[in-house]
Subunit: 247 residues, 2 copies
Amino acid sequence: MVRYKAIIAYDGTNFHGFQRQQNARTVQEEIEKTLTKMASKRIEIHGSGRTDAGVHALGQVIHFDFPYPRPLEKMRFGLDTQTPEDIAVIEVEEVDEAFHARYLVKEKTYQFRVQLGKPRSPFTRFYASYFPYDIELAKIERALPDFLGTHDFTSFCASGSSIEDKVRTIYEASVTWKEETQELVFTFRGDGFLYKMIRIMVGTLLKIGNHRMDETSIPAIIAAKDRNLAGPTAHPEGLYLKEVKYD
Amino acid sequence: MVRYKAIIAYDGTNFHGFQRQQNARTVQEEIEKTLTKMASKRIEIHGSGRTDAGVHALGQVIHFDFPYPRPLEKMRFGLDTQTPEDIAVIEVEEVDEAFHARYLVKEKTYQFRVQLGKPRSPFTRFYASYFPYDIELAKIERALPDFLGTHDFTSFCASGSSIEDKVRTIYEASVTWKEETQELVFTFRGDGFLYKMIRIMVGTLLKIGNHRMDETSIPAIIAAKDRNLAGPTAHPEGLYLKEVKYD
């Protein structure tokens, strides 16, 4: 057996998320079907983590064990062209059998796109969230650094999550304005993120930018460990898993 | 009756083009259905010209006569929100009854996006053409100015077109390289374009950039008035009607 690591991108619009499940089209299932055909033997893949229905990936990382070695570009091209068009295989490399796409994650980067203004672009209706209300960018910029550092992010985790340890470290929390497409593009980089955490952070930041919450309220919300104090969960179509880093 | 001019955008992916036809979903039909409901009376629209199946618009122009005057933002908002999500209504203005969206066109601008490199992005599979072969941009840049000016473009018109006068004037023919998305973005501006003309021009330019046709061959192809001498027709998903200008 040879272990391969692959960097993949996918348009999440027509997937019920990354993780395999009964009676629903998922990214994991499509890639496993293709690899199983290529190897003539059941192959399972492991991703760096799940993504929800409608969430996209520019640089999701997976690993899998293949029964025999194959030239890397042949493996990449075979996987890329035999999976459906909404999955792209960007890079394949051979890794040590100790490598694990989920357990060894060091850092993840997500982006979140929000289109402002009217009308909603027909070209980004599946690729950016939409917020047609007043936004004061300076307020969002004032609030963003309060997410940095190591905190218990219980207030920014969807209720129902079974994960016990809700302490995460955020290294980057920033926003840029793209005039051409009238979009806010948020970037969040950290050692890991809780269930729906980025979508709740963005929902809260939009509430702040829209004057419905004070721009200094993030530290108190974090301290309270109460999901009810944070803002709403932003829609999945704006979210992109951009990069996963390992040691 | 009050005449309105509207600027609209649409994602052409799920339309069989702009123009109304039997048993196929078209942009014209969707907008007419909405206007007819708004006016409780059959309303017809006129576009600046057709676009083919899969072709997009950032700034298509239409006009229509409405039985009574309505505040412009109300009209825009009503049309925008009551048409399906793949149509956006950007602007509505009241115009003189002499205005006609097709007959009075002075200038049209089209863009054409081509993604180069591997793999094909899952996010642009409906929004850019794909050319994964070698391209020498300098050759395309050398050939582009040969389209400028007034010429009989018979060689760049799909056979079967019923239009007799194939003389058109091109004011701008340019290309830029977008590093971030690995895309060539062509811009063509002229007093009008023949059936599939831009897609044939792009197909020919890609053949030149790929070393399969000399970069000085455009003038001879134009002079020959023979469609067989030009390159193939590029795919519709890369084409955008960007702007229509009137006197």
